[in-house]
Symmetry: C2
C-alpha cells in the first residue's frame, strides 16, 4: 500500500492480478471475481488489468494454469525418485491430489470447469493439465516396469486413476459426501481400491 502510493507504476501488476484473483476465488468463489473488484483490491484503476490481459477470460485462464502448475509441483515433490516403496508413491500422489482440491476448492473448480472459462480451447490450460497427466503416466510406467502393477496401456491406467481421485475430490468439494465420513479413510480406501484393481486385472 505504502509502496503503491509511492510509485505510479505497480511493479508487477500482472503477477499480482493472478495472485489476487486466486485469493478472491478462494474467498468468495469464481463468481466473486470481477475485473472491477480485482482492480480496486490492488489499489489500481479499473482499466489497469486490461494492460496485461485482453479480457477477463484470459485472466481466469492464467489463474487456472497457475493452479495446475502448483498442483503438479505438489504431486511431484515428496519423493521424485526410487527411494520409497513405489506403490506407496502412487498412493501418496492420490492423497496429495485430493488434499489440494480440499484446500483450494474454488480454485480447483476453476481449473476443471469449462463453464467458467467459456471459450473452448485454451492451449495454455490444455498444456498445463496435460503435464499433470504425463507425470502420472510416467510414474505408472515405472511401476509397471517393476512389475508392481499390471502391464496394460499406461495412459488408460492413468485415466482410471485420475478419474478416481478427481471424482472423489469433486464429490467432497461439492459436499456430496456425508460429513460424518472420515475423509482420510475415504481417500486411503479410494487410492487403495484403484491400486488393488490395477494389480488384480484378470488379463482382459
Amino acid at each position: 500500500m505504502a509502496e503503491r502510493a509511492r510509485t505510479y507504476h505497480h511493479g508487477d501488476l500482472r503477477a499480482s492480478l493472478v495472485e489476487e484473483a486466486a485469493a478472491m476465488i478462494s474467498e468468495g468463489g469464481a463468481a466473486s471475481v470481477t475485473m472491477r473488484a480485482i482492480g480496486s483490491r490492488l489499489g489500481v484503476s479499473r482499466g489497469a488489468p486490461y494492460r496485461h490481459f485482453p479480457d477477463k477470460t484470459a485472466l481466469l485462464v492464467a489463474v487456472a494454469v497457475a493452479g495446475f502448475k502448483r498442483l503438479n509441483r505438489r504431486l511431484g515433490s515428496g519423493d521424485a525418485g526410487v527411494s520409497s516403496s513405489s506403490v506407496e508413491r502412487l498412493r501418496r500422489m492420490g492423497e496429495q491430489y485430493v488434499r489440494f482440491a480440499l484446500e483450494h476448492p474454488a480454485h480447483y473448480r476453476l481449473m476443471y470447469g469449462k463453464e467458467a472459462l467459456e471459450r473452448q480451447d485454451q492451449p495454455e490450460l490444455r498444456k498445463a493439465a496435460g503435464a499433470l497427466l504425463e507425470n502420472l503416466i510416467d510414474v505408472i510406467r515405472v511401476h509397471q516396469q517393476r512389475g508392481e502393477i499390471d502391464g496394460g496401456d499406461p495412459r488408460a491406467q492413468a485415466y482410471v486413476a485420475w478419474s478416481a481421485v478427481h471424482g472423489l475430490a469433486s464429490l467432497l468439494i461439492e459436499r456430496q459426501i456425508d460429513p460424518n465420513v472420515n475423509v482420510d479413510d475415504l481417500i486411503r480406501q479410494t487410492t487403495q481400491t484403484i491400486l488393488d484393481g490395477m494389480r488384480d486385472r484378470s488379463q482382459d
Copy 2:
C-alpha cells in the same frame, strides 16, 4: 403453440419451465438460461415464471432434481432383480452413469455444480442425490451378501465407486481426456478396475 394461443392460461407452466430450462441447458449451457429467455421461448411473459418459482435458483434446483431422478431411474432400470450376474449389474450401472453424463453434459454439470446453484443447502437436491447413493449402497450390500465383493462398509465402497464414475464422467465432459481414446473401453476399464479392487481388498 396453437394451444397456447387458444388459452390464456398455459396449462402446466411449472412443468414446462423445468423442461424448457433443461433443454436450454443442453443447447447452450447453464449460463444461457435466463428467466427472460425461458419465458419468451415458452411464449409467455417475463413475469410468468415467478408465479411458479420464487427466483431463478429455485427453478435451477428443480431442474437439477429432475436430472437426478432421471439418472436414478436409468440406473435402476435394466434389471432390478436377481436375474443377471450380479457384478455385471454393478458394471452396467457404472456404464449407464457415465453415459448419462455424456448425453447430458450441461445438465449433469448443473446437478453437481454448487457454483451454479449458489445457495448452500437445497434439501430437495440433497434428497435426490442421496437417493442415488442409497440405491448404490443397496446394490453393493446385496453383492456383499453373495460374497462377490468384500465385506467392508458398503457406504464407503459406494463412495469409492461413485467417485470413479463421477470422475470419469467429469473428465470426459470437461474434455480433459484425449479424444482419440476409445470411450467405451475406458468406461469398461474404469468399472472393471474398481470392481477388481473391491474384490481384491487385502483385508486392511
